[in-house]
């Protein structure tokens, strides 16, 4: 497997970051298409950048210059890059040679500006552009909380040629963040996705700490890890409830709903917001001062609920067998993370890379079946695992860990294993402000395979399929 040292022509410009020539870019992509895990791609008017995962879960950022608005596409070698290429074209107006797909992802003509993040954005007619192209299921009618358009052809009663559209949910997040100080950006980052009220700001804060060469004390580190587990339980309970509801298991859905509300109540009673919004702090203390009583209350509230849920869940989950299967090779090729990946045989969990991680409490739970049944079981197993992690943390809260200080580079890469997968932030600071910020939400790789997963299902199954995958477009439409 390739490592950073195997980049003879690359100029190292950051901790994990190399710049290569256009020829070197293409050669590396060709040679390593089967040896690196692709995570994300973005391009602005100057640089095209791809984020990979190497052996030992070490990240690698590879950049090449954008010349006259063009660069060589990554998607022919790593198909998951196509969404990043499309989004980069919409936001910065740069185009990829030989891209697998060059249709608009965010901008279907409905904005008042085109290429809004470019140096010279182009205005369109006063009053905005055109309505989005029509699709069979309009974005606001899809059975998920966010905006996701789905178009398909009905053939023999099942969906075929499924096309996924996220443009309706584009809020211009990156344009708002660029130029802000980290403190100014925090409230926005904390509201990028309700699927990551903790994991998004945590990945952002970790990227900033790397950029500024800051280390945190072990108690703050543990408070963040605790909040991450509580968020995981809450989101898993939400997804389980939606799955049960869609599968016609109303009684089970009620138990999940009550358990999730119990969790929200515990958060509120202990001075946090119900869904942990604004609980991650940039420089102060995350969560609450009395974090151990909070953890104990969470355990006391959720553990008996899970004991009630477990036997009932096993009675009902047979209904999920064979639904929306994600094959193991697809999970690896597209780097599908979180429950989807771990239920499909990709047992990667970025929590193992966290400083202060308690591996003794982590069971390495994973499945290989890849269907909704497996994801359902995986969610339940991960809630149990979170409870064990929390228990462990009450015993050795704030234990010292060995971590190395990194040199300040004003560039940082942060990751947090959120409930639905690994969330990555790449930031570049200039004079204390965000010169660049890029976000990789776990929904991004899922977009590339969602159409093929939906194909072959009846339209009536759409709600169940989407619920079992935890689909949430807010973190990718940005």
């Amino acid at each position: 497997m390739m490592t950073g040292s195997a980049l003879p022509e690359g100029e190292r410009i950051g901790l994990f970051h190399y710049r290569v020539t256009a020829e070197g870019w293409q050669r590396l992509l060709q040679q390593n298409a089967r040896m690196m895990t692709f995570l994300a791609f973005w391009a602005n008017e100057e640089w095209a950048t791809a984020l990979f995962l190497l052996e030992g879960e070490q990240p690698l950022l590879l950049s090449t210059a954008v010349e006259q608005g063009h660069y060589q596409a990554v998607s022919p070698y790593f198909p998951a890059a196509q969404w990043g290429e499309r989004i980069s074209r919409d936001l910065w107006g740069v185009e990829a040679w030989s891209a697998l797909d060059d249709s608009p992802a965010l901008d279907d003509g409905s904005w008042s500006l085109t290429a809004p993040l470019s140096a010279n954005p182009l205005p369109v007619a006063e009053g905005g552009g055109q309505p989005l192209p029509r699709c069979r299921i309009e974005p606001s009618c899809t059975p998920v909380p966010g905006l996701l358009g789905i178009d398909y052809v009905l053939s023999d009663g099942v969906m075929q040629q499924v096309d996924i559209q996220i443009a309706a949910g584009h809020r211009g997040v990156l344009s708002r963040l660029i130029g802000l100080t980290p403190q100014e950006a925090m409230p926005l980052v904390s509201r990028i996705s309700a699927s990551g009220f903790v994991s998004h700001p945590l990945a952002f804060v970790r990227a900033l700490e790397q950029a500024e060469s800051r280390r945190i004390d072990p108690r703050e580190r543990d408070r963040r890890l605790i909040l991450l587990e509580v968020e995981r339980m809450g989101l898993h309970l939400f997804d389980l409830a939606q799955m049960a509801h869609q599968a016609g298991a109303g009684l089970l859905a009620s138990l999940y709903d009550h358990a999730r509300e119990t969790l929200a109540e515990v958060c509120t009673v202990h001075g946090l917001s119900r869904r942990l919004t604004d609980s991650i702090s940039l420089e102060g203390k995350s969560g609450v001062e009395a974090i151990i009583p909070f953890v104990q209350a969470v355990i006391q509230g959720i553990r008996p609920r899970m004991e009630q849920i477990r036997p009932l869940a096993r009675l009902f989950d047979g209904r999920l067998k064979g639904v929306a299967a994600v094959p193991t090779d697809v999970a690896w090729e597209y780097a599908l993370g979180g429950v989807i990946g771990r239920a499909s045989g990709r047992y990667l969990d970025m929590r193992y890379m966290d400083e202060g991680v308690r591996p003794q409490a982590m069971g390495g739970a994973g499945r290989h079946e890849g269907d909704a049944w497996a994801r359902n079981r995986q969610c339940l197993a991960e809630i149990e695992e979170s409870l064990k992690i929390l228990e462990r943390m009450t015993a050795d809260y704030g234990q010292e860990s060995e971590g190395q200080a990194v040199p300040r580079t004003d560039e940082g890469l942060g990751v947090a294993e959120g409930p639905r997968g690994d969330v990555w932030y790449h930031v570049v600071l200039k004079e204390g402000r965000l010169a660049s910020v890029q976000i990789r939400d776990p929904m991004l790789p899922l977009l590339s395979v969602l159409g093929s997963v939906l194909e072959g299902h009846e339209p009536e199954q759409l709600g169940l399929v989407l619920a079992s995958l935890g689909v949430s477009p807010a973190g990718v439409a940005l």
Binding site: P145, G146, I192, S193, A194, A253, S254, D257, T268
Partner: protein, 172 residues
């Protein structure tokens, strides 16, 4: 492991035990249609929770419907994205007379942290004078329900706390 019928019965009894008490109010059943217009999805997820058995939405005289043609009130979440403006207008036009527009959450009211830009128009505050609002980021399901009951009874708000109060402008 206990037998399946016993598991079912215990679960049923547990759900009964936690069944929430409805908020009493006068008047007819009000039909609600919800529309996400562009956000982090937090408010939309709280509306999903409000529709669950953990909250007495139906017992308090409300009913969620799948089509705006069947709705009395349109509940909007999120600051309005340009791409969604036509969906919002279409839903509003499809509703029968006596309709009301309710902004759920800070974003839907005034854009919250997501003000007007090239992609977003902002909250209903800037787009329409005909609306009511339920503040919060996101408002809790109980705060939303309390506010809906107050609006249904014609009150202008007020349980005292910002998170649970509803402000009412006009109804069309």
């Amino acid at each position: 492991m206990q037998p399946a019928p016993l598991t079912m019965m215990l679960a049923f009894l547990d759900v009964q035990k936690w069944r929430p008490r409805p908020l009493r109010r006068q008047g007819r059943r009000i039909r609600l249609f919800t529309l996400e217009a562009g956000s982090c999805e937090g408010c939309a997820m709280e509306l999903v929770s409000l529709g669950s058995s953990a909250y007495p939405l139906e017992g308090s005289g409300f009913q969620r419907v799948q089509h705006p043609e069947d709705a009395d009130w349109l509940l909007v979440t999120g600051s309005v994205i340009r791409s969604c403006a036509s969906a919002l207008a279409s839903a509003w036009e499809a509703m029968p007379a006596g309709r009301s527009l309710v902004a759920v959450g800070d974003c839907a009211y005034n854009g919250g942290l997501w003000k007007n830009n090239y992609a977003t128009l902002g909250g209903l505050h800037a787009l329409s004078r005909v609306y009511s609002s339920i503040p919060g980021c996101p408002p809790s399901p109980s705060a939303i329900l309390q506010a809906l009951v107050e609006l249904a009874e014609g009150g202008s708000s007020s349980t005292g706390s910002q998170a649970s109060s509803a402000s009412r402008r006009r109804r069309q």
